[in-house]
Amino acid sequence: MALKETPSQTVGPYFAYGLCPQQYDFDYKSLFTPDMAGPETPGEHITLIGRVIDGDGNPVFDAMLEFSQVDANGRYPASREAIAQNGFRGFARVGTGTDEQQRFIVRTVKPGSENAGEAPHVNVIVMMRGLLTHAFTRIYFEDEAAANAEDPVLAAVPAARRDTLIARRSEQAGSIVYQFDIRMQGEQETVFFDL
């Protein structure tokens, strides 16, 4: 262990043309998109929708989020060939600057359990201007109450704060939506992890 980590710095306000160019209509190919799964991916198709809220209660219009999850069978994609086969990328990147309400909108399938005893969840990285070091959080699912009750990570979170990690399920225009706001500060500050 000879070397020291390179320090983190903020992603700043101008990441869009470099990191999510197509979402923001720049003429440069996006390597990652807000779509974690394709229409052909097996599983229950869902949409994750939410906002990033600052300490004044205002939505953040220049956040960038990344999402990582297993497929409905609990597996990450193994290769580019596997992704080409079933459309499941297992990773999404989205900025909050293209939706009128500053929401992120991520299409995916509901994840299975990666390991026995773990509740289905989505891993999230949060970045934005003003955040010098990125933050990790997780999205769990409201309708997985039994699995959530057994999950060791949720169990390590103070009971009063667990709710900040649970997405709310609803049906909107025939599709399944999970609502998950990320609150950076305040009484309902989202739980962030030291991963």
Binding site: L3, G18, G90, L131, H134, Q185, F193
Partner: protein
Amino acid sequence: MDESILSPRDFDSHPAYVYPPYRSSVKRGPTLPLIPLKEKLRNQHAPVYGTDDLGALDHDLTRNAAKNGAPLGERIIVTGRVLDEGGKPVRNTLVEIWQANAAGRYVHKQDQHDAPLDPNFLGAGRAITDNDGRYRFLTIKPGAYPWGNHPNAWRPNHIHFSLFGDYFGSRLVTQMYFPGDPLLAFDPIYQGTPENARERLISRFSLDTTEEGFALGYEFDIVLRGPNQTPTER
């Protein structure tokens, strides 16, 4: 079964979430303690990608957005190795960069700084590290620009870097600065970094990398979190 974990994030190397001289951190940085989550490496995944995902000119910012000529400004080579804390090269890992043009203007629509855009420069690039963990970009030296954080606030010249490494937890977004920049002393983003770690953000001018009659060379090595090799010490 591999039960190893990532070495703990070294918070002595990273800026605090809230650093009041950097104004926008005040209402955006988390204030409650982080909850420890020691996820095993076999459960941590970086996204899947490959060299085939990149365009042939993605690493060359002097050409990857050229419309009718070359971008204005000073051509530079930016290269370095991506290593883990054990000194092992991080191979086949994606390095994404973005930056202002030579005049200090970003292509982003929100950047209203009164400096010209360059029709031949986007300012975005990417590369995948080789077997030694090395990446290499050809670009234009970015200009300084005002940003309104405090009176007469100017960002030092910098290039934004984004890396994944091999694991979800080795993610790093950072900025590379240039040696001898007088603005570093006044920049709250740079100054918000722990004093003993700041200099790791400054690239090194290298005459060996510099190409005769063509471009100055800068070396910037990047160290990501790696597998925890000394579990008994912690």
